[in-house]
Symmetry: C2
Subunit: 205 residues, 2 copies
């Protein structure tokens, strides 16, 4: 197996996952900033023009960061980052999706519609980026309320893939210059905790 | 267990899943059009104000349609709609996420930023809806190319949850008055096939 990966929030999800699992995989670096994902030969690997991609030993390409992580978990069950029992797995899935759809994707919208990098790739709508900035602040309040029971991690007492999706959101917040407001103490406690892990890809501020 | 559900594309994903699995669950109907999801007592069930929600026997509430489906699959493994082997499961996950993130969510953006229903819920940006309408046409071309190998279903020879997410996308296309262009024969072949299933929730046109 070989991982095609580059510097991106979704690429980071897989890199953090590998670090947390202690899995060592050969990596083929892909330079997104230089346009490698949007040209051949990469487009034959993934016509959607995105990393990460896991090349399997039979030559097939598995895309989508969470599909890659889930497959690696099946091959390397411990530590279980997708939960152990069916109930745990259900709530980890719920929380991973909440972190992705309600937070990560919203700040992703801000990036896609504001960042210079995407100017030539999509038709940017600044008014939409502005709406999503506001929406993200509302979602942070919801997340803070959810974390107010004092639990250590997003899906409960154990670190899970839902925290990893949250870490990717924090990376995007850095790029979009969004800080979690001081008043959201529970969200900030969680953020400080995951950013202190050995798997966190950025140097501490 | 009890399912809180109402008329929505995500609600339909769980309803179709139940029909395909042959699972019978008590359902508590929730009237979205009358605002039930955005008021108490429902907001205590799901502060995000959305169906579907699976109420477990221990009183916990499981939200997010795919988390609910995955949990029901763990309790009722056959037929496997999330795949059987780790490889199958990986590619079903990849395809379910592609159908959701690349197609379903894009036409969902159109709805949220165009439909009267959402006028009082979000700050609508018509220019963004228009960009997403164009983006959706590009994504349909990509999907058609992917299906041009003649396979029966989205993730291969077996019907899976990725087809169900695709069916939810087709429901949204109906509301947004978007048709798959005549030229996209592979996408249309797939759409006709899934719309002929007993689980399809709308009467044929």
């Amino acid at each position: 197996m070989k991982l095609h990966n580059g510097m991106s929030p979704n690429g980071a999800r897989v890199s953090i996952f590998l670090a947390e699992k202690g899995i060592d995989l050969p990596v083929q670096p892909v330079d997104i900033m230089q346009g490698e994902t949007r040209a051949e030969p990469f487009l034959s690997v993934n016509p959607l023009g995105e990393v990460p991609v896991l090349e399997l030993d039979d030559g097939r390409y598995l895309t989508e960061s969470i599909a890659i992580c889930r497959y690696l978990e099946a091959l390397n069950p411990k530590p279980a980052l997708f939960g152990d029992t069916p109930e745990e797995q259900a709530f980890v899935e719920m929380w991973n999706r909440r972190m992705e759809l309600r937070l990560f994707n919203v700040v992703g919208d801000v990036g896609r519609h504001e960042f210079e990098l995407f100017k030539d790739q999509i038709e940017q709508v600044p008014a939409f980026a502005s709406v999503q900035r506001g929406q993200f602040q509302e979602r942070l309040k919801w997340f803070d309320a959810e974390m107010s029971d004092g639990r250590a991690f997003v899906a409960g007492d154990s670190f899970s893939v839902a925290d990893i999706t949250g870490m990717a959101m924090l990376l995007l917040c850095g790029f979009a210059q969004i800080e979690i407001p001081q008043t959201l103490t529970h969200a900030r406690r969680w953020a400080a905790s995951v950013m202190s892990r050995a798997s966190w890809p950025m140097p501490p501020a």
